[in-house]
Amino acid sequence: MTPTTTSAGGAVKVADEQLKQHTVSLLVENRFGTLNRIAGMFSAKGYNIDSLTVGPTEDPDVSRMTIVTRADDQIMEQITKQLNKLIDVVKVIDLTFESFVERELALVKVSSTTTTRPEVLQIAEIFRAKVVDVSPRTLTLEATGSQQKVDAIVNMLKPFGIKEVARTGRVAMKREYQVE
């Protein structure tokens, strides 16, 4: 089971600055073709997808999807309605208006020679990233955190020469105790 991340090429209908980022958490029936139905709805209607992740939940018949999208209020209302209209969608929660926990995981393969290795390791430590692979010329780090945190470590590592990055996209969940 590998979570997938897709970035979609839907037409942007509104000037970018009016668009707000939304994190939408979906519970969907774990059926043949459900991912297609949802991704297809986004592309058919020209909505943006910044990232999309899918994974199992505690109920084997239900999967959780986390979609990060950008939309103005009117389009966001439509996105929510269109998602609800899909027969396989059980529940739609726009987490943007809730207090929620979000995490993303990244694997970053960065160049490092014996001279730069200590510096890279120091950055890893600051971000509490783990070393998952090492070779004479590279270090591979595993970083977890909010999207901003992952962006930050990737930026910090850039000067050393990034060979490859794999990011999962965002997974999110509503907090149990909501701060008003």
């Binding site: 089971m1 997938t4 774990n30 043949f32 297609n36 991704a39 709805m41 018949d61 969608v89």
Partner: protein, 665 residues
């Protein structure tokens, strides 16, 4: 260079020297470029009678491999009987037929093939379900739509895999756009061959995903009965729509115990029926302050069987009623509150009434662009109430003030309790004046015009007929000049605008209704898109009056070319067969009318003919236009009214110096 020119130049660069095509509003600019180069330049257009090409339909790979965990099946929990006698196991094909029986299906429109031969074998012994062999799978889907719309029951289709399935795509898209409940069963290659480019394999579930309300691939015979139950439930509940069920050949041969589920529970699908009472009261408060209200009524009123409630509401409020194309028949047009149809080719006064109203009550309508024109200007000053079963239809194109989600019949019943009679006398007076000054009208002399045929048909039937139109000018003239009286008597392809709809759809009507005469109206273009169904009509001796309004043109596109493309008639004039002879070849009696007198006599002959089909070709004026017209995405201010003059002012229908004046209400 325009996109249209770049397109044509690119084809030239690719060495294309013949293009097979058919024009329409979306490609009119390209056709205009072709007009310039048609004379002797490289690219020549050949008009095909139907759009089929020998291009292969690309079956977008098995995109399903992108999804996760898709090997898991939702197995049905069958209650195992613990008797000594093991319960009888029957095949998927038998389960299919028994499930249709449980759903009380009476008619099945279909076409057999390799993947469905097992099902057809079972059908051979069945008497409670009538199978109608159409002559094309597109015909079967439109017939199912016609049946569904005229009866209110779901239409059912059965076709084979591959080309059989892809031939249903247009009909499915049509049903999706017009919210018609049909269930389409497609054969599929055996499960282990799926994805192998097997003979006659097409990923029809993938192809139809965006044009069905929902679709299913049945991978295990134990899921079959439950899936069929869900398919019918989804198609007919909430906002109705098409559902497709793909049936692999091996699944239909597998055996299991048949048990049809009694109830249905889908945690992910629960359409709202009752409207929120707070919202209903809020709407009533808005309505109770209205001075210039208008009811804007769509097909939802008909599919929810709420014509009676609508009438009660309009009467109580004394509120003028305008309907969309699909709303025609929901409110009797001879009633004085009727404004007829609104929108691009709506009456002048309905569009002005909507423009100046202070409260717009939208009921089962979806603010389609052919209705609104320029959206920001549509009823810009009015408070808007929108009643619809589909939450996503609300505030999609036009923001509304009071949305009410629910079944229209329920909502209107409640709303009626909270609204008070309004004083709309001044408003109605204003509208009546508009009706006198801007009636529908057409020239009446010794030439035969399509409008006259429709107008006379309305008079001679008094509106007591089921009329199925095609797409184009005849469709709009029928909407304008017929006398709409009853729900479920007007059928047309509105949302998708599918030429070739009328003839097969009227066939579906004939299998569901025998209380009223059935009239199919097509243009010379559209009739040729599904004329093969004349054979089905003839075989079953269906009592359909087939009217062809022959203007020698793809009239509606020609009208756009005349008005907006400097009269450059690029590929819109065409030669047609002798329709009387064509009918004769199918064994259908036929006649031709070319003058108003001949037309009236022919209509009478057709109406009196009550043994099977009859075809009438009306040879009508070639370059008539449909008026009024609000050009696409514009406002009432840009409305083109009929240039025919009116001198005195009194309500029609009547003749005034060779002009026929026609008013609604």
């Amino acid at each position: 260079m325009s996109g249209a020119e770049i397109f044509i130049r690119s084809l030239e660069a690719e060495g294309v020297d013949v293009l097979f095509g058919y024009p329409g509003a979306a490609t009119i600019a390209i056709y205009d470029v072709l007009y310039g180069i048609a004379a002797g330049k490289n690219v020549v257009i050949e008009k095909e009678e139907s759009e089929s090409t020998d291009e292969q339909i690309q079956t977008a790979g098995q995109v399903n491999s992108l999804s996760w965990n898709n090997t898991r099946n939702n197995t049905m929990t069958t209650t195992k009987a613990h008797d000594k006698q093991p319960p009888k196991q029957i095949s998927g094909a038998e389960i299919f037929v028994r499930s249709l029986t449980e759903e009380k299906v009476e008619v099945l429109f279909g076409y057999p093939g390799g993947a469905t031969i097992g099902i057809y074998d079972v059908l051979h012994d069945i008497t409670n379900i009538k199978h109608i062999l159409t002559r094309h799978e597109q015909g079967a889907t439109h017939a199912a739509e016609g049946y569904a719309k005229a009866t209110g029951k779901p239409g059912v289709v059965l076709v084979t895999s591959g080309p059989g399935a892809t031939n249903t795509v247009t009909g499915i898209a049509d049903a999706y756009m017009d919210s018609i409940p049909i269930v389409v069963f497609t054969g599929q290659v055996a499960t282990k061959l799926i994805g192998n480019d097997a003979f006659q394999e097409a990923d029809i579930v993938g192809i139809t995903r965006p044009i069905t309300k929902h679709n299913f691939l049945v991978k295990d015979v134990r899921d079959l009965a439950r899936t069929i139950k869900e398919a019918f439930y989804i198609a007919t509940s909430g906002r109705p729509g098409p559902v497709l069920v793909d049936l692999p050949k091996d699944v239909m041969a597998q055996k299991t115990v048949f048990e049809y589920p009694k109830t249905i529970s889908m945690r992910s699908y629960n359409p709202t029926v009752e409207g929120n009472i707070k919202q209903i009261k809020k709407a009533a408060d808005v309505i109770n302050t209205a001075r210039r209200p208008v009811l804007y009524v769509g097909g939802g009123v008909i599919s929810s069987n709420a014509a009676h409630e609508l009438r009660a509401l309009a009467d109580k409020l004394q509120c003028p009623v305008t309907t969309t194309l699909h709303g025609l028949g929901s409110y009797p047009e001879q009633n004085k509150l009727s404004l007829g149809m609104l929108g691009m080719h709506g009456t002048w006064y309905s569009n002005y009434a909507v423009h100046y109203c202070d409260v717009l009550i939208a009921v089962g309508a979806r603010f389609d662009d052919r209705v609104t024109g320029k959206v920001d200007a549509f009823a810009a000053e009015a408070k808007k109430i929108h009643i619809d079963i589909d939450p996503s239809a609300i505030s999609k194109n036009v923001p509304v003030d009071v949305p009410i989600v629910g079944d229209i019949k329920h909502v209107l019943r409640h709303l009626l309790q909270y609204v008070k009679p309004l004083d709309t006398l001044d408003w109605i007076k204003t509208i009546d004046q508009w009706k006198l000054e801007h009636p529908l009208r057409y020239r009446h002399d010794d030439k035969l015009r399509a409008q006259h045929v429709i107008h006379k048909l309305g008079e001679m039937t008094k509106g007591d007929a089921i009329v199925v139109t095609d797409v184009g000018q005849q469709q709009m003239w029928t909407a304008q000049f017929f006398r709409w009286q009853h729900p479920r008597t007007h059928l047309t392809s509105g949302g998708l605008g599918t030429m070739g709809f009328s003839l097969p759809a009227s066939m579906g009507v004939a299998f569901g209704r025998s209380d009223l005469p059935i009239i199919s109206i097509s243009g010379d273009g559209g009739i040729q898109m599904n004329s093969q169904e004349l054979a089905t009509i003839s075989q079953h001796n269906l009592p359909i009056k087939i009217f062809i309004l022959n203007n020698g043109f793809l009239g509606m596109v020609r009208q756009w070319q005349e008005l907006f493309w400097r009269k450059r008639y690029s590929h819109t004039e065409m030669k047609s067969p002798d329709f009387v002879k064509l009918a004769d070849a199918y064994g259908i009696p036929a006649l031709r009318a070319s003058t108003p007198a001949e037309a009236e006599a022919a209509i009478q002959t057709a109406l009196d003919h009550n043994s099977g089909p009859i075809l009438v070709e009306f040879v009508v004026e070639k370059e008539e236009n449909v008026y009024p017209m609000i050009p696409a995405a514009q406002t009432v201010n840009e409305m083109l009214d009929n240039p025919e003059p009116i001198s005195e002012t009194s309500k029609g229908p009547h003749v005034q110096q060779n002009i026929i004046i026609h008013t609604k209400g």
